[in-house]
Assembly symmetry: C2
Homo-oligomer: 205 residues x 2
Amino acid sequence: MTQTSVPDVVIRRLTTYLQTLKHMAQRGEHVASSTEIGRWAGVSPAQVRKDLSHFGEFGRQGLGYEIGFLCTQIERILKIDQDWRLILVGAGALGHALMNYGAFVTGRFQIVAVFDSDPAKVNTRVGQREILPMERLAEIIAERHVEIAILAVPATAAQHVADQLVACGVRSILSYAPITLNTPRDVHVRYIDPVASLQTMTYYL
Amino acid sequence: MTQTSVPDVVIRRLTTYLQTLKHMAQRGEHVASSTEIGRWAGVSPAQVRKDLSHFGEFGRQGLGYEIGFLCTQIERILKIDQDWRLILVGAGALGHALMNYGAFVTGRFQIVAVFDSDPAKVNTRVGQREILPMERLAEIIAERHVEIAILAVPATAAQHVADQLVACGVRSILSYAPITLNTPRDVHVRYIDPVASLQTMTYYL
DNA sequence: CTGTGTGAAGCTTTTCACAGCG
DNA sequence: CGCTGTGAAAAGCTTCACACAG
């Protein structure tokens, strides 16, 4: 039933199910029940079944879910059964850390270019890649068919850079800047902000 | 109405309202309506008012919210009107980046100790701090009254370290490991996983 | 008039509970 | 039997709309 739109929270849980399933596969398991998946992912068995049922029937009654098969299906649903080219804007300390982050060096999300507005940084290297000036943003995005950008610039520059990215056709932004970006509705933004995360935890202390 | 328990999603939005309000304050504004706050935070005016109404009456009818006052109130609600001591476990590339992250160097969340299980790293320095062996975890947590930990270790070690942290009395964990941690219900965990975030965005492309 | 605070309505998400299949 | 898939019920969250205050 890909017909009716699926809640975003379901999409986010799919990634945790996938983590869980990969983990189980590594331990040599071949089949998992919704109860087992739920226990490791921290959700109820009914939730697991309902979430998966949005996309099809992947289990066998009386048995459970075949782990390899379910992984393949979730990867297809999330469209991560293919490589994705990313660009990174901002070559500060965070940008450097991201360039050397294992998942971006070897995984299916590949950073194909790094940009920075600071002329002193342009032409220096970070990891394997040369830092490019912002002027080349449009060119690279078009040439490499980039749809996803990681934003690792200061909060003061974030909105301006986001506007440029959107103008160049970027449709997904992963932002490390601690501000809410104003973007067209068809551009998806996710935020990573450790301080914001900590601020929501102190409430419970 | 602090009586009835407040949804977690409200707590998370409070941090975005705070960001918005600080931003407005910097631009010299003194008063903000729920419509303005909502526009910048990306939520409806009614949502802003309802969220705030969980904690008291902070606005003036016909006028709006006095920005400085509302900031103070939100900071009090989130308990971020005080300093918090954190520890960091894991002194790899990510750990180094976090130690040098501005907000942790100058802000109200202060990393007071760094731990690593690798004997080769112990006694070397990261930023200003000496890396301590895991054996000293319990001692430091007790001595410095630490309630919050940042987990920056490989996925394979994360659950084991989390268990140790919980045993030492840590009650909030910000985890960078791409697995769901199994913890007692009174221990709060937030996850930061750029790959998981990206995986949820490709679905919409 | 403008804009808050808030019950009530409307909508979404989660849980329940059970038919049905292996 | 065990466990999925799924309508129906319950719970939770968001929006509406309006009384009321400045």
